[in-house]
Symmetry: C2
Subunit: 338 residues, 2 copies
Amino acid sequence: MVKITDVARHAGVSPSTVSYALSGKRPISEETRRRVERSINELGYRPHAGARALASSRSAVLALAIPLRAGVHIPVAMGFAVSVVTAARRHDHDVLLLTQEEGEDGLRRVADTALVDGLIVMDVQLHDDPRLPLLRALDLPSVLIGVPADPTGLTCVDLDFRAAGELCVERLAALGHRVIALIGSPPEVYVRRTAFAQRVVQGFTAAADRRGLSSSVHPCEATPAAARLVAEQLLREQPALTGVVVHNEAILTPLIDAFEDLGLRVPADLSLTAICPDDLAETLPVPVTSVAVPSTEVGAGAVDLLMRKLNGTGHTPETTLLPPRLTERASTVARATR
Amino acid sequence: MVKITDVARHAGVSPSTVSYALSGKRPISEETRRRVERSINELGYRPHAGARALASSRSAVLALAIPLRAGVHIPVAMGFAVSVVTAARRHDHDVLLLTQEEGEDGLRRVADTALVDGLIVMDVQLHDDPRLPLLRALDLPSVLIGVPADPTGLTCVDLDFRAAGELCVERLAALGHRVIALIGSPPEVYVRRTAFAQRVVQGFTAAADRRGLSSSVHPCEATPAAARLVAEQLLREQPALTGVVVHNEAILTPLIDAFEDLGLRVPADLSLTAICPDDLAETLPVPVTSVAVPSTEVGAGAVDLLMRKLNGTGHTPETTLLPPRLTERASTVARATR
DNA sequence: TTGAAAGCGCTAACAC
DNA sequence: GTGTTAGCGCTTTCAA
């Protein structure tokens, strides 16, 4: 194994000079820098991560706690994970994966052992998430993906789901729809009061009320059967329905199928907007007008905020909400005036 | 920060005794052990990961390289990742996430810096995977999820996809079906010759030939439109078709829909078996007879093999193929003799 | 602009 | 069964 002293000897400098050449933490003459770089390449030197962590009390590793619970759409979660890893690498950091199963203990463990420099936590509950007191108490910086009811003392990033819900309603209202429904996440998501699902409902309801639209909200399991039931119920209870907002990635296709089976064509009879990743919206049988869940931006944002906290650079707001962006596709049209 | 010397002082023993009490690498008297444990708990001691890694040249971290490419079903990949993390924790190890994007460089980096003790690599190509020479050359132990054409010098685990393909055919044959088709993964999966897709085809074809069945193979994009096209093509080209094997998680639902739209009821007119995770097979509109992709077992197996290599315990076979297990559900029936 | 040297906190010989 | 101690490879004062 090549170590820093080998490089130093080879370049005819001291180990500290090699270290500083690598970190840039003090000025190095152009010539020395070159010599050091040449030696590093020639010898194939790679600093030992553990030694570095011990000496600098920085591991260059971030922990990411990913959700596994029912109701979380897996590809969406994976999208976040990948974007976090990619963004972390841009800052020369690696990412350690923690599962929900380990919960607070896992977070505490990697923090206490100095395995990681910071924490990113996904799928935060709106109320009483047991991890939040821990995060506030820990001396390690952390960022949440998702916004709890009380973000005091925390740093949170997410799509502005409330605004996303509003945006969908505004669009439907602008198209002349007067009776609308929100088909949401599975009941368990609301029961444990996950922040984002809740907020969509708030935005949806507020915008509908503001516009004087008749509206209703329907949680829905992530199964085709449940989708069909909701479709039937809607048809029965709200025959005047012409606009639907769907916030449930897993049932978009079965839901559209169910509506069509029941004689409601999308978009001719029923306009539909969704809150889901763009690639999903694009590849559905009917391309769906949607507000994107921008996993790449959210993941990158979380990492950037965390790095800022780590470096003590600049201010970190408690809450960063990414503005929703609606893309018009084939599933929405102006209401036929009958 | 509490360190080992603090614990030692508090317990009235030497630092090495604390260390050995923790690692169990040398016998400790019952009484001493108790005192040490008490001090550890009282002081809230947590060994510093970096210091440990430096002194022991073991980081207790494994790297997992996850695929992101087109054609890889995300929930399946995520299932592997979660099971790897869970299994690693059982061995007191953590898991570092590497994306495909980083490729060989990422593997080399975490290996050379001693960030990790071992590598687990998913989504191995059948031929010329550029990472394999690297894995063979590295002094770090590694395990592949997936089996390349030449596993010499490697350690691989996977479902026995060939046997899975055979098992599906055998089942259809036993039910009296004589004309069958395999609807497979997207073309790009075959082009880059990912091991598992290839092997299903081999097993399917071999078993069909052995049984004297008429058979055909059809790659299929992971979109509903592509599924419909394949369904139409099959109906046109093989009107006598009564059995189908599907190895493409993403299109199971649209495919069944397409067949039914074309007047082929599952299972009345067409028996269907799939190779996919059990939870998917169970929740489809028609519960589908399937061979499970046992992500939990595969992930746990990969970790166990890696730990065995790390500890130099016992023999590690080059290839470990998990036997397929077929679960009969509603999508298969005996062929109606017409 | 550079070097010398003191640790960082732990493990694992080695000694008893 | 337990203690002493020399490192592990790096960073970062301190000094020049």
